[in-house]
Structures are given as C-alpha cells and as structure tokens.
C-alpha cells in the first residue's frame, strides 16, 4: 500500500511486560474503507497491539501515525479527536447508565454548546441535546438495539453489550474503528449480524481493524489479514493467501491441538 493511501500506520511497535514480549516489532498500515483483521492464538499480543494503537499503553519502541500525524506521544483521549475509536475485549460499558446514555457519552468531543449554556440551558443546548439523542437512537438502531435505550447497560445480554460498545464507539464519529474480539460470546446469528454491520461501515468509508482469534470468522469480511504469533508478525496478506500459508496453518494447528 502506498503511503498516501493509508489512514493509519504503525511502524516497529514493541511492548514488553516484565519478561513477557507481548508485541515485538509489528508494523501495519490500514487504508480507508477497508477491513483489516489481526488474528492469532490467545496470548499472541493482539489486544496489546490494540492498546498500543489506542494509547492505553505507551510502546517501548515504534511510532503510531494517524493521517500522517505522529500520535505516539498522545494520551488515549487525545487520539479520539483524530478519529480513532475502539471497543474492549473485556466489555467496559458504563453499567449504571442507561443504554442510550452510554451512547450519548460517546458524543463528548462533538458537542456544539456555548460554555454559558451549560449553566443556563438555552436554544443551542436543547438543539444539541436533541441532535445527540436522535443520533444515538440511530446508532442503537444500526446495531439492532432500538427499543432498548432506557434499559440499564448492565441489564443487557452479553451479545447486546458487545453491540452497544460498538454503538458507543461510533458516537465519536471515528475514521478508524478498532474492535477487539467482537464475536466472543456471540451466537451464530449475532456473529452474522455483526459482520454485516462491519461491511456497512466499510462501505461508508470507515477503516475497521478487527482483532479475532477465530480465523474462519474474519475470512469473509477482511480485506487484509495480519497473523500474529508470540507477539511477532507471522504473515500479512489477503485472506486467500493466509489460508494456504504453511506457517499460519502450523501456528493454528499447534495452538489448537
């Protein structure tokens, strides 16, 4: 991929936790309107890589470029303003908030309210509130949660919580969405609906990075696949290339036998 085409680029990322080399010299580039899958057995370092990209952990080495801007030194909240959003492998919703308020919280960086209207709610305030609520309702509909808005987030089923996390991340209006193990705990129908939503996002021009340990799942949605094993990049290519790559097969057979 040429430099200009990529919306996101990571070069030589490494991270150690004590003696554990969780991520070792990983580079990747993601183009807009593509789905980029990162696969690998459990413990391969996929979530750690995502944490390096989103800024939860600082890397020991390497740079993270977003829109040809070096964001390596930025804290996670600052990266959101550049169009980066994520979900978590272990779901991290605001459980005491309603479903719709979880999504509305995602509009944090996108409010258009003059400062004084925070203490005296005026027309601009009400317009902004109405816009956020309407957009949040749309996002809930998009992930198949319409009608669930008033429920407490903690009361949703596991699959619904995963979808709500995606809706909340989408509320930040990202250009790059990182999804960590979205299919974990979902039934077959829910997985199908999820993949379908990811395709729609790609169609709208969003770059989506999906982390998944189940290789088969991402094969018919990914444009590019990066295979990781023991923190290292094993192979990168199209799904068709990955499926016949002997090293990948060996890694997976080794992991699953």
């Amino acid at each position: 991929m040429s430099d200009a085409a990529a919306i996101f680029r990571a070069v030589g990322l490494s991270k150690n936790f004590g003696g554990v080399r969780a991520v070792k010299d990983v580079s990747l580039a993601v183009a807009p309107a593509t789905v980029f899958a990162i696969i690998g057995p459990n413990g391969a370092g996929k979530s750690t890589l995502l944490n390096l990209i989103s800024g939860v952990h600082p890397p020991d080495a390497g740079t993270v470029m977003f829109n040809s801007l070096d964001v390596t030194a930025l804290p996670p909240h600052a990266r959101v303003r550049h169009g980066l959003a994520r979900t978590f492998q272990k779901i991290r919703l605001f459980k005491q908030l309603s479903v719709i308020d979880n999504v509305v919280a995602g509009f944090h960086a996108r409010h258009r309210i003059p400062a004084w209207q925070y203490v005296w709610h005026g027309t601009a305030f009400r317009a902004d509130r109405a816009r956020c609520r309407a957009e949040a309702a749309e996002l809930l509909a998009f992930v198949g949660l319409s009608g669930r808005g008033q429920a407490l987030a903690g009361a949703l089923s596991y699959g619904e919580q995963r979808m709500l996390e995606i809706a909340r991340a989408l509320a930040t209006a990202p250009r790059l969405l990182l999804i960590d193990e979205p299919a974990a705990g979902l039934n077959a129908a829910e997985v199908e609906a999820l993949l379908e939503r990811i395709r729609v996002l790609r169609q709208r021009g969003m770059a989506v990075v999906v982390v998944e340990h189940n290789m088969d799942l991402v094969m018919n949605v990914a444009d590019r696949v990066l295979v990781m094993d023991y923190g290292e990049p094993l192979f990168e290519g199209t799904p068709a290339e990955v499926q016949v790559h002997p090293g990948v097969i060996a890694a997976y057979l080794g992991a699953e036998s």
């Binding site: 605001f94 209207q117 005296w120 609520r133 909340r168």
Partner: protein, 335 residues
C-alpha cells in the same frame, strides 16, 4: 422521547419553585432563634452536601476533605475582612476562589490516586488544613479563635433595608445561595458534563476511549464542588460570628459524607434531604445525651445496608408505588 425530557425539565422547575416557597415560609413557621439558627445550619449543610455529591456521587472521587474547603472559605474571607478591611462580598468571592483553587490542587492528586488512596490523601489534606488553622497563631489566633465577625452587610433598597443581623433574613440569604448552588449544579449534571463525570466514575479507561480527559474533568469537578463549600464557609463565619479550627475538624467531613450517603449519592435532591435530616435529627436526640451518637450510627448503618440509594431511592420507590396504585385504581374504575 424528547417529550419525556421536556416534561422532566418542567417537573424540575416546579420542584425548585416549591423549594423557594418552602424557604419563604420556614422562618414564618419557626419564630424562635433556636430553630431559626438550625434552619441556617441546614442551609449551610445543604451547600456542603450537594457540593460534595458533585465530586463523590457524580465524578466518583472519594473526597474526605470537604471540611477543609469549608474552613478555607471561612478563614480566607474572614481574614480578608478583619485584617485587610475588605468588604464582605469581595471577601466572599475570594473565599470561594481560594476554596476552589485548593480543591483543584487536591484533585491533581486525584489524577494519580483512586478509591481508598484518594480518600486517604484528601483526609490528610483536611488534617493538615486543620493543623495549620490551629498552629498558625499569628494569622488565625489558633484555638483562641477569631471573635466579633460581622454578619453580611445590610442590603439597602430605597425605602427598605434588609438587615442580616435578623436571623430570618440571614436564612433567606443563605438558603437563597443554597438554592442557587443547587440550580447551578443541577444544570451541570443535566448537561453533557453530567454524562462525562459519570463516565469517569464508572470506568476511566472507557471514558478515555470516548475522548474524555479524566484529569481535566476531575479538576473541574473538584473546583465546582469545593467552591460551593467555600461559599458555605464564608456565610458560616458571618453567621456564627466566631471562628475556631474545631468547627472544621475532620469529623465534619464524615458528617457531610453521611448526609450525601443517607440522602443518596449521585442524585442532587437526595443529599438535600440527607443534610436536613442529619442536621435536625441530632437536635431531637439531644435529650438522650451521648446515646444519640449510637442512634446516629445505627441509622447510618441501616441506610447503607437496606437502602443503599438513600432517601432518594426511598422517594423513588414510594413514587413508583403510588403511581402503580393510582393507575390500578383508574383501571379498576373503568369497566
């Protein structure tokens, strides 16, 4: 859905109007100075409790230093009046700002510390503040205290003067500020700031993934919550007329926290009731001497065990039951 929101908004303004009416009537009902004094203490405690709830209940930062901010507001404004001859209202503003600034400094620790550690750090801050007030004798006169502090100056309207040596008028002033603080905080928590603070309370990593700068918003929450406490401190000095460090001992922090917990954390109306209840209840229990501490402690334990949402939760439950009962009645009447 937007209808439900504007309905909730209207209901809130009716509630505030009702509170204003209650404030107007109270001194007419309670005419002796003993009860009027208690009314003013209630209003001060309401300010302290809702200010603390903004930090603890909404932003989720366990602040055990509210007594210190109360004291900073009281001492800063009083010293400016007595030593530098500043008029009351400019001194009031300085007291509020001094409280807010010290709250912001403490909140910078909150960035690194969480949960128990922040609680201990803020308690330490309250202890240090108390010790400074006690031992910086050249400034505060230590345990001897500062005497003869004047109440806020009278407000002169043409042909009509409001004199704050009158306890009823002083109550109107303090309760008016308590109501104003309530409205301000209420507007904030019903704005996107409310969601931002609760997001930080619920999960900071998650909040950061939505672009929320937790460090900045904790500083903001502390600034607002401690500014309200500082305002209460300024009124306290002018109301009691005497300042001694013991008024701002750390036990006061726990009293205020108890008001928030009994009232219901994370709601603004709850701590108002909590503050009133825990101000008035000990007065009724005065007859039983030190036994009242046991009753007080027992009441607190029972609330935490059986009604963790406090008075606010109890009121919600009662309202829901009433609504269900009335809808059952109308349903029963129809056929």
């Amino acid at each position: 859905m937007s209808d439900a929101y504007s309905a909730a908004g209207r209901a809130r303004w009716w509630g505030i109007l009702a509170a204003a009416c209650v404030i107007a009537v109270l001194p007419l009902v309670f005419r002796d100075s003993y009860w009027r004094t208690n009314l003013i203490v209630c209003a001060l405690n309401v300010m302290l409790a809702i200010g603390l709830d903004f930090v603890v209940g909404y932003a989720g930062q366990l602040n055990l230093g509210q007594s210190a901010f109360y004291g900073i507001g009281a001492y800063v404004s009083t010293l400016l009046i007595m030593r530098l001859g500043l008029p009351f209202w400019p001194a009031f503003v300085c007291g509020v700002v001094a409280s807010a600034l010290s709250g912001m400094v403490l909140s910078l620790f909150a960035v690194r510390l969480r949960g128990h550690y922040l609680a201990i750090a803020s308690l330490g801050f309250a202890v240090i503040t108390y010790q400074v007030l006690l031992n910086w004798i050249s400034l505060t006169q230590g345990p001897l205290g500062i005497y003869g502090i004047a109440p806020p100056p009278p407000v002169g309207l043409p042909g009509w003067q409001i004199d704050f040596t009158d306890l009823a008028n002083l109550f109107y002033l303090v309760a008016g500020f308590a109501l104003l603080s309530y409205v301000l905080l209420d507007q904030l928590v019903r704005s996107p700031i409310g969601e931002t603070l609760t997001a930080i309370r619920e999960d900071e990593v998650s909040a950061a993934s939505l672009g929320i700068n937790a460090r900045l918003w904790k500083v903001f929450a502390f600034a607002v919550g401690t500014a309200v406490a500082g305002g209460a401190g300024c009124f306290y000095a002018g109301f009691v007329g005497t300042l001694v460090p013991d008024a701002f001992f750390i036990t006061e922090s726990f009293n205020i926290l108890a008001m928030v917990i009994v009232g219901g954390m994370g709601t603004l109306s709850g701590p108002v009731f909590g503050a009133i209840l825990l101000t008035v209840l000990p007065e009724f229990l005065r007859g039983i001497g030190d036994l009242r501490l046991i009753v007080y402690g027992l009441a607190l334990t029972l609330v935490v065990l059986f009604m963790p949402g406090g008075i606010a939760q109890a009121l919600r439950l009662a309202r829901d039951r009433l609504m269900r009962a009335s809808s059952r009645q109308t349903a029963g009447a129809k056929p």
